[in-house]
């Protein structure tokens, strides 16, 4: 099983949209997919929860704080052919809840060890911060996928994030590698987008994925219907772009 942390401490860059839609696309390509919602907003849970909304039962908060058996926290979303560990508003207080816990950054890694054979890939949706939840994701992950907007603030946070990834790799998780940077909400009609993409290519060209997610109103509408882009607008640019991303990520070279 591969574990991928979708992370960027800058807010509103497309993390949740990427986890929801990439997850659905990988499932369409035949992968057994588990999604983990680590955000107190539970946007991922809401995005894919469908008509009936979030399901009862243990959440990612219960998993980390009370150590409930992960199998009891996994919910099936049959229409999207994925499984999910839902988020919870309680996650807003996670820093205090875990402050005294020994090895607090390893909790998610240990929980996921129990489902290694059940899934092919796990996607972890991180909140917009570099606190204990994002650290849990980085320790549990094999790879890091970094969505970013093609706007001025995109480059500012990269340095800090890369430093944190390096520290986690040295101290807690030697297998952690950066899979790539994913430009999201790209609108190439503006000069700003071109300038930022050029600057990304100059600073970290080797990390830029081939895939680009274009700005597409259908991607912003899909969550209000509780579905992925594949079910909401299968012919849209949004569906095409996320299917292309899923194909690119399937190419992972084993040697990495």
């Amino acid at each position: 099983m591969r574990a991928v942390a979708i992370i960027n401490q800058k807010g509103g860059v497309g993390k949740t949209t990427t986890v929801a839609n990439l997850g659905a696309c990988l499932a369409r390509l035949g992968q057994r997919v588990l999604l983990i919602d680590l955000d107190s907003q539970s946007n991922l849970t809401l995005h894919l929860a469908g008509e009936e909304g979030p399901l009862p039962g243990p959440t990612s908060f219960d998993l980390l704080v009370d150590g409930v058996d992960i199998a009891s926290a996994i919910r099936e979303l049959p229409e999207e052919q994925v499984h999910i560990v839902q988020g919870s508003a309680d996650l807003a207080g996670i820093e205090q809840a875990l402050a005294q816990k020994i090895g607090r950054e390893m909790l998610l890694r240990d929980a996921l060890a129990d489902v290694q054979d059940r899934f092919d890939i796990v996607l972890i949706d991180c909140p917009p911060s570099l606190g204990v939840l994002s650290l849990n994701a980085l320790v549990a992950a094999d790879e890091v996928l970094i969505p970013l907007q093609t706007e001025f603030f995109a480059l500012q946070g990269m340095t800090q994030l890369m430093e944190i990834v390096d520290v986690v790799r040295q101290r807690l998780n030697p297998k952690l590698s950066v899979r790539g940077l994913l430009p999201c909400m790209v609108d190439l009609r503006t000069n700003l987008a071109h300038e930022v993409v050029e600057e990304l290519r100059a600073h970290c060209g080797h990390l830029l994925l081939r895939s680009r997610i274009r700005k597409n109103i259908k991607l912003a509408e899909a969550p209000s219907h509780g579905t992925s882009i594949l079910r909401y607008a299968p012919e849209s640019n949004g569906a095409d772009d996320y299917l292309a991303l899923a194909a690119e990520l399937r190419e992972t070279t084993v040697a990495e």
Copy 2:
């Protein structure tokens, strides 16, 4: 002196853009303005730092953790006619740094007490979370201004945020009131924006400000020049919208 917390735990909704530009517009209207950057990304500092970038000296981290004299942390930005307490990457570790500190939510309120007579208004830029930094902002503030995007996830976080504001008002800061909800990046060409504005009007119409900030590429370009919209594109929709917001907020009824 009035203190306003610009807050929304949803990421990328326009908090920093609002603090930077509303601050510059209030200064243009003759107010003595202090801005506080509480985000570890220091996007507010970068937005207004101009050519030479962030200035040396104490930051908001030093203010909260080491209790440095606020006067030593205040920097003047003469081109924008505002003063600022800059952010710092160290803020990413603020939860641990303040975990054992008695009255850790009151630190900013106490620091600001020393400059009550020096400024007319303080705007506090919050990170996209409801941790100890946002709590410091809510305890120090008289009013809360909530920027939000006209997209599906906008309404989801409102309930949680309002609950936190209520708890802070009851337990820590009885004067705290919600000044209003500010729709940002509004693009009324899409159905989604109309739907969300209608839903906001139905759920919390009395809290909606009259002002709207339209989507405007000049607002996204201004930070890469280190200036407010007033200096970068004074004739743009962005400048008009933030000047109108500044005028609306000047109308604060004393009786509130």
